[in-house]
């Protein structure tokens, strides 16, 4: 990274998330650091259980107790947000950081109309009259592509189809004007046929509102369409992070190479789908040294003993002793 | 999730496993459950050993003396050290009557739960496994009965028995009638739970496999499906036990339960009721306290059991 840069929008420094249990603490996020600039789209990929959602929850301050950020710092616009009081955190959520959760069906309160939920959120963060808030809500619904918004605004969530609901959720995430939106698996619960549309809506509206996106997903296809940069998580750490092109076409970390080559390309004949042997280690059984070494085709002695840090590799950064 | 089957031949192995299991760990670490279990055990022991533990046999009329009647507890002036908790109008030692009453209350409680469980589980199994009109009929009856409070059903069965039998005969079989009434009034929950469990299990592959092997449906139901229902059934039974004891006490208090000659705790309360207004509070308070103590202990155990067996709350 070179030249003068403005203060990044978000800085995550050596964050560790812990869950105390009967038999000792579990650490789903072991040591993650990255930064995000205003308006950027950062994709975070990894298998289930790699710690991506935990990371997202930690940033927005919604870790379920007894989970907590045990180490590290999270800075938004240069100020720490990981050590704020509950009241201060409540003010930030929605207003500075928005969340697009995974399941639109269960994320919308079934007993309140879409309009009511929008207006509630808007008025919680801005001094506005009911009418003004409602007008704003109508604007948002139009932006996310809900047809006949003046009729739909007074309908209940169960009257919307899955894709429409997710658009409403996006509107809700953006209605208070956040600078950062965390989208946690926003398309996983939707039909494949509408996933692309929703990603499109997400990207477009966030850009129009000047919001950066952290897109958490296990679906590489979604990332490839949307992200500016990509971070790959494995066993609670970032093993590679860099511009989209670099990570996808010239993956530096062996795990990333494995991931990329396991994606079948339409139109090319394959004998068998290639896969990475083995499975990601469980939280209670993380190997010493580099967590990937048992499965890595390029592992050597040092990998078993020491944990690698992110270092420049090819055009991105990778945590691997190869570099 | 392991199924908790209890075959006699594996009892030893199971006890060992039980001690180390999650359930027992939860038990050991929930102080209220331990205290409740201890209290319940004490009550149980007292009830079982009543004839030997009680200082006096309150039903041996020749041992009673009216001179001793209506004495207060030993710590109040006028009390007699022979009668720890005082005496009632007939000179019976309250402590002894409570022990015997406890015995009767617990017998009726356990027996009616057993009856309800047998009835409910069998009907639930039948309904779930047979399906069709059998299931429909049983479930409709269950629904209809469920819309009435159990105590009303118990009262009804009781009232019918009373009207049908001459008074002397009724007194003799009062306990049986009570067990029947309470049992009949509470089978529904077992049936419903078992039925829904059976319906789910029936579709599972291991059942279909055994079916293909040609085993008789009853065998399948009893040997394979039934063990999977023990968890929920146990929880229902514990809650039901407390309710059964309460219902019996209520019926006896109302005068349609155990007669004064063989009183349960509820009957004792009713008999003591008359003396409430004349200041002889011990005749009514101590039996009441014993009753509350038993029910509380059983309820605490039931609560703990429910929380411990509920996978969602772990």
């Amino acid at each position: 990274m070179s030249g003068y840069r403005a203060t990044p929008l978000l800085e995550v420094r050596n964050v560790r998330v812990e869950y105390p249990t009967r038999t000792g603490p579990l650490t789903p996020v072991k040591d993650v650091s990255f930064s995000l600039d205003a308006g950027e789209v950062l994709g975070i990929v990894g298998e289930s259980g790699a710690g991506k959602s935990m990371m997202g929850s930690a940033i927005i301050g919604l870790l379920e107790p007894p989970g907590r950020v045990a180490a590290g710092e999270i800075l938004l616009e240069g100020e720490r947000i990981d050590n704020l009081s509950r009241a201060a955190l409540t003010r930030i959520r929605g207003r500075k950081i928005g969340l697009v959760p995974q399941d639109p069906l269960t994320s919308l309160n079934p007993l309140f109309t879409v309009g009511q939920q929008l207006v509630q959120t808007i008025r919680a963060h801005h001094e506005m009259s009911d009418k003004q808030a409602r007008a704003r809500a109508l604007e948002l619904l139009t932006e996310v592509g809900i047809p006949a918004p003046d009729r739909r605004i007074d309908q209940y969530p169960h009257q919307f189809s899955g894709g429409m609901r997710q658009r409403v959720v996006i509107a809700l995430a953006l209605c208070a004007g956040p600078r950062l939106v965390i989208a946690d698996e926003p398309t996983t619960a939707l039909d494949v046929s509408i996933q692309a549309q929703i990603i499109d809506v997400l990207k477009r509206t966030c850009r129009d509102h000047g919001a950066a996106i952290i897109l958490i997903t296990h679906d590489m296809g979604v990332i490839a369409e949307t992200a500016d940069r990509v971070g790959v998580m494995y066993a609670g750490r970032l093993v590679e992070i860099g511009p989209l092109r670099s990570v996808v076409s010239e993956p530096a970390h062996p795990y990333t190479s494995g991931l990329m080559s396991s994606i079948p390309v339409v139109g090319r004949e394959l004998e068998r789908l290639s896969q990475i042997a083995g499975a990601m280690p469980r939280l209670t059984a993380t190997p010493q040294g580099c967590a990937f070494h048992p499965r890595c085709p390029k592992a050597f002695d040092r990998c078993k003993l020491e944990m690698p840090e992110l270092v420049p590799a090819h055009s991105s950064q990778a945590a691997c002793w190869l570099y | 999730m392991t199924t908790r089957t209890a075959h006699l031949s594996r009892l030893g192995e199971l006890l060992g496993r039980a001690y180390n299991s999650d359930l027992f760990w939860s038990f050991r670490h929930t102080p209220s459950a331990v205290v409740a279990a201890a209290v319940a055990c004490v009550f149980l022991l007292l009830a079982l050993l009543a004839p030997w533990v009680a200082p006096q046999n309150p039903f041996n009329l020749s041992a009673l003396s009216l001179m001793d009647s209506e004495l207060p507890p030993v710590w109040v002036s006028g009390g007699d050290s022979r009668f720890f908790l005082g005496t009632d109008v007939q000179g019976r030692d309250i402590f002894s009557t409570i022990l015997y009453g406890l015995r009767i209350s617990m017998v009726v409680g356990f027996a009616s739960v057993l009856l309800a469980m047998t009835l409910g589980v069998s009907l639930g199994l039948a309904a779930g496994y047979a399906g069709g009109w059998v299931e429909a009929l049983i479930m409709r009856i269950a629904d209809v009965q469920l819309s009435f409070p159990a105590i009303l059903v118990a009262l009804l069965v009781n009232g019918v028995a009373r009207a049908a039998l001459p008074r002397e005969v009724f007194n003799d079989v009062a306990m049986l009638i009570l067990i029947l009434s309470i049992g009949v009034s509470s089978w529904v929950q077992y049936a419903r739970t078992v039925r829904s469990l059976v319906v789910v299990e029936k579709e599972k592959e291991y059942v279909q496999a055994v079916n293909i092997l040609g085993r008789h449906p009853l065998f399948i139901a009893g040997r394979h499906i039934l063990p999977n229902t023990t968890g929920p059934i146990t929880v229902i039974a514990t809650i039901n036990l407390a309710l059964a004891i309460l219902t019996e006490a209520t019926l006896s208090y109302l005068g349609v339960g155990m007669p004064p000659v063989t009183p349960s705790l509820g009957t004792l309360v009713r008999l003591g009721n008359e003396f409430m207004l004349s200041g002889k509070w011990w005749i009514v308070i101590f039996p009441s306290a014993a009753l509350v103590g038993v029910v509380l202990a059983v309820n605490l155990l039931g609560d703990w059991l429910r929380d411990a067996l509920n996978p969602k709350l772990r």
Partner: protein
């Protein structure tokens, strides 16, 4: 919606018929009706005449139909115990019971709901611990014990409140109410608490459990993620989601209260339907017993139906259909 109502009405009708059958069975098979009326010494011929005039020799179906017709028009027969028409007795005693049930419910709800909400929001805390203990003992206390203890403390020892009866009542047409006199109100206090205590603990536990469940849902989490304050989340959103299932359970509980009034009325010698019923059971007064049964069943069926309709009215998911046309995906 209409077919739903129709189905529920039909169900209710079937229940009533079954109950009528049981009541009819009581009348005719439990003890001999003629015996009940005239005693053992009366000779054979007179009995035969009595049987004929009572229509006891007609086929069962006819007798049953007659029974149903008579019951439906409110003619419940005559009490064995005191020869008074049962319908008169019931009507006389109904206001007492209904008033008691009303006050008990009011007591249970006005305390139970706030306590449940408080203990759900403040999961750990001294007051919540106390509330938990109260709720546990409440479930374990038989209501007659509660009544007795209350009487001992407030009537015998302190002498503040009466231990039995309704006090002075004011007649408003067919209804007699104790709410308009001081002694009437004082008489209502202890019985209402006794009857309502069990329901109080039930409501409290239910509200707490429901609310805890609601507070764990995704939509509440999303609401937090949007920065809505805890106050709004607890008292505006979660409350609404909690109360809807709770309201229906409470409605069904009212039927239960009417039945449990039997015990409370016995403890306080409250001149209501419950006491009447117990006296009937003790005396084997079949007409009163079976009429009470039919009347109670009718009340239950009506309450169940109203509660179902209420549920329909409050939950928007049941009113309007699913996803509507008028939009792409």
């Amino acid at each position: 919606m209409i077919p739903f109502i129709f189905r529920r009405l039909l169900q209710g009708l079937i229940v009533m018929l079954v109950v009528a059958l049981i009541a009819f069975g009581l009348f005719h098979f439990v003890g001999d009706p003629v015996n009940n009326m005239v005693g053992q010494e009366v000779g054979g011929e007179i009995r035969e005449q009595l049987r004929e005039s009572l229509g006891l020799n007609d086929p069962m179906i006819v007798q049953f139909a007659r029974f149903v017709a008579r019951t439906a028009t409110g003619e419940f027969g005559v009490s064995f115990r005191n020869g008074v028409p049962v319908s008169t007795l019931l009507l006389e005693r109904m206001p007492a019971t209904l008033e008691l049930v009303f006050c008990a419910s009011a007591f249970a709800l006005s305390l139970g709901i706030p306590m449940g909400i408080y203990s759900a929001i403040n999961r750990r805390g001294l007051l919540t611990g106390v509330i938990q203990i109260v709720s546990l003992t409440g479930v374990s206390l038989p209501s007659f014990v509660v009544g007795i203890v209350l009487i001992i403390v407030f009537s015998v020892d302190l002498g503040w409140l009466p231990s039995s009866g309704r006090g002075e009542v004011v007649k408003l047409g067919a209804w007699s109410t104790g709410l308009l006199t001081a002694s009437g109100l004082k008489s209502l206090i202890l019985p209402s608490i006794t009857l309502g205590l069990f329901q109080l603990t039930l409501v409290m536990r239910l509200v707490r459990a429901e609310m805890l469940e609601v507070l764990r849902t995704d939509y509440i989490k999303f609401a937090r993620a949007r920065g809505l304050s805890e106050g709004i989340i607890n008292f505006h959103l979660a409350l609404k989601n909690t109360l809807i299932p709770v309201v229906t359970v409470i409605g069904l509980q009212i039927g239960s209260l009417i039945a449990f009034a039997i015990v409370t009325e016995t403890v306080f010698q409250w001149p209501g339907m419950g006491l009447l019923f117990i006296q009937a059971v003790d005396f084997a007064d079949i007409p009163v017993m079976s009429s009470y049964l039919v009347l109670i069943s009718l009340m239950f069926v009506i309450i169940n139906l109203v509660v179902d309709l209420l549920y329909y009215a409050i939950d928007p998911r049941l009113q309007i259909g699913g996803p509507q046309a008028g939009g792409g995906k």
